[in-house]
């Protein structure tokens, strides 16, 4: 079974040279730590920055330079800043190659819910609805079961949707799934995880081919 860093590490293998990538808050942010050496990618932060660099050294924080999680960050050689409309313009126009974000639920047809739990505090969708509606490729990083042991890979989402029919790939603590033709297709299982574990943790339609391998990290 993978921990959060393990999920991030596996997702980092999906990041290819030359990509523009938007990383959501939480596990997706950790992906930046595992992008392989020798690969050149540009991280987009939807508050208006292409070329997000690492956190600043202590004492070099600048209140005017933050990421979409409101964390202090840095720029890199070749960075560009712009306004929020332009930022979502490049997202809407499909210029961002890969979007990695978290989810509370995903359905077998690729619907995603990640912004609201009715009756509890509603924080808002931020840029998630814009991102999932337009991204060419969306990978979801999530825990496959909730704290009550219930599956979050569902036949249909129970929570208010963020977007419909948009998730292409999911990486959880148990495995990697491709979402297509109305089912979760298991591509890889996490180290030490059995197919039985995966079946138990998947409520939606699950397709397991005979040659599913354990993932390599």
């Amino acid at each position: 079974m993978l921990d959060k860093n393990g999920i991030a590490k596996r997702i980092a293998k999906e990041v290819k040279d030359g990509m523009y990538v938007n990383l959501g808050i939480g596990i997706p942010t950790l992906v930046a730590n595992y992008i392989p050496d020798g690969i050149s990618v540009v991280l987009q932060s939807e508050n208006g920055l292409l070329g997000m660099g690492p956190f600043p050294l202590e004492g070099e924080e600048d209140a005017d330079l933050i990421n979409a999680g409101k964390q202090t960050i840095t720029t890199l050689p070749g960075s560009a800043t712009f306004d929020s409309a332009l930022s979502f313009g490049m997202i809407r126009a499909g210029k961002v190659d890969l979007t990695i974000l978290g989810a509370m639920e995903v359905s077998e047809n690729g619907d995603i819910a990640n912004w609201k739990i009715p009756g509890k505090m509603v924080k808002g969708m931020g840029g998630a609805m814009d991102l999932v509606a337009s991204a060419k490729n969306i990978i979801v990083a999530m825990q496959q079961v909730n704290k009550h042991g219930e599956s979050k890979l569902l036949k249909s989402c129970t929570l208010p949707l963020t977007g419909v029919n948009c998730v292409k790939k999911i990486v959880t603590e148990l495995g990697v799934y491709e979402v297509k033709d109305g089912a979760f297709h298991l591509l890889e299982r996490a180290p030490g995880v059995s197919l039985e574990d995966i079946k138990k943790a998947t409520e939606g339609k699950l397709v397991i081919n005979s040659d599913v391998k354990e993932m390599e990290l």
Binding site: L49, I66, S84, A85, V122, K123, G126, D130, G163, V164
Partner: protein, 235 residues
């Protein structure tokens, strides 16, 4: 052409009860601190505020919420404010949550003289309820209307006496599109210079959109999430 005013109090003096305001900033980054303080001092109530976020409990729009000056917030993310949550749950505050790109583009549309935009954000979700959907090239889009705001209040890094503005780093965020979108736009800047000192090629917001400008003071520029690294490590 007299755009320069002495201070925030003068800039906001005719903002009245019940008006709709656009307030620039992302989180606490690039917010018009001086004007928010002036609005708090003025105590004007029943405001509708279009702003990506609602500040934190004791800073930014949070200060206006404390004094119950806000009737309605139109935002994309409001998760950092306990007083906000309390007012929302008690029904004192009305909130309309909309996707961030939609929020920015509805401001921009106002400044571009376009009555509406079409966006795929929110199709198939509760955001789409009651909205017109149009199909272009086989894909569904929501029609979202340009905002109408009585005032836009923005913060820039530098400005000149003609109202031209330049922003810094990611403190730009919603400020340029809101500056364009208000019927009357107030800009507070860290440094106000005479016309001619800013390079025309570097202007982000042309002065035609800005009606009042002043040099702000005592900027706190609070950081919401101070994150640092140690030598030789990345994020």
């Amino acid at each position: 052409m007299k755009k320069v005013v002495a201070h925030a109090d003068e800039a906001v003096q005719d903002i009245k009860e019940g008006m709709t305001l656009m307030l620039g900033g992302f989180g606490l980054c690039g917010i018009p601190e001086n004007c928010i303080s002036a609005l708090v001092k003025k105590g004007v109530k029943n405001l509708t505020c279009i702003s990506n976020n609602a500040g934190v409990d004791d800073f930014g729009i949070g200060l206006m919420l404390q004094q119950k000056q806000v009737k309605k917030m139109i935002s994309s993310y409001v998760g950092e404010n306990a007083e906000f949550e309390r007012q929302l749950l008690s029904g004192e505050l009305e909130v309309e949550l909309i996707p961030q790109g939609t929020l920015a583009t509805r401001c921009m549309a106002a400044g571009y003289g376009m009555p509406a935009i079409f966006t795929p954000a929110g199709v198939g979700t509760e955001v789409a309820e009651g909205k017109e959907i149009r199909k272009f090239n086989g894909k569904d889009y929501l029609m979202e209307l340009a905002f109408e705001a009585d005032f836009a209040i923005v913060k820039a890094w530098k400005g000149d006496t003609m109202g031209n503005l330049i922003y810094k780093w990611t403190a730009r965020n919603f400020n340029p599109v809101m500056a364009m979108g208000g019927k009357i736009t107030i800009a507070e800047v860290e440094e106000l210079v005479p016309a001619g000192e800013l390079d025309p090629d570097q202007i982000h917001t042309p002065g035609i959109y800005v009606h009042r400008i002043f040099q702000g003071k005592n900027y706190e520029k609070r950081i919401e999430q101070r994150t640092v690294r140690f030598e030789n490590k990345t994020i």
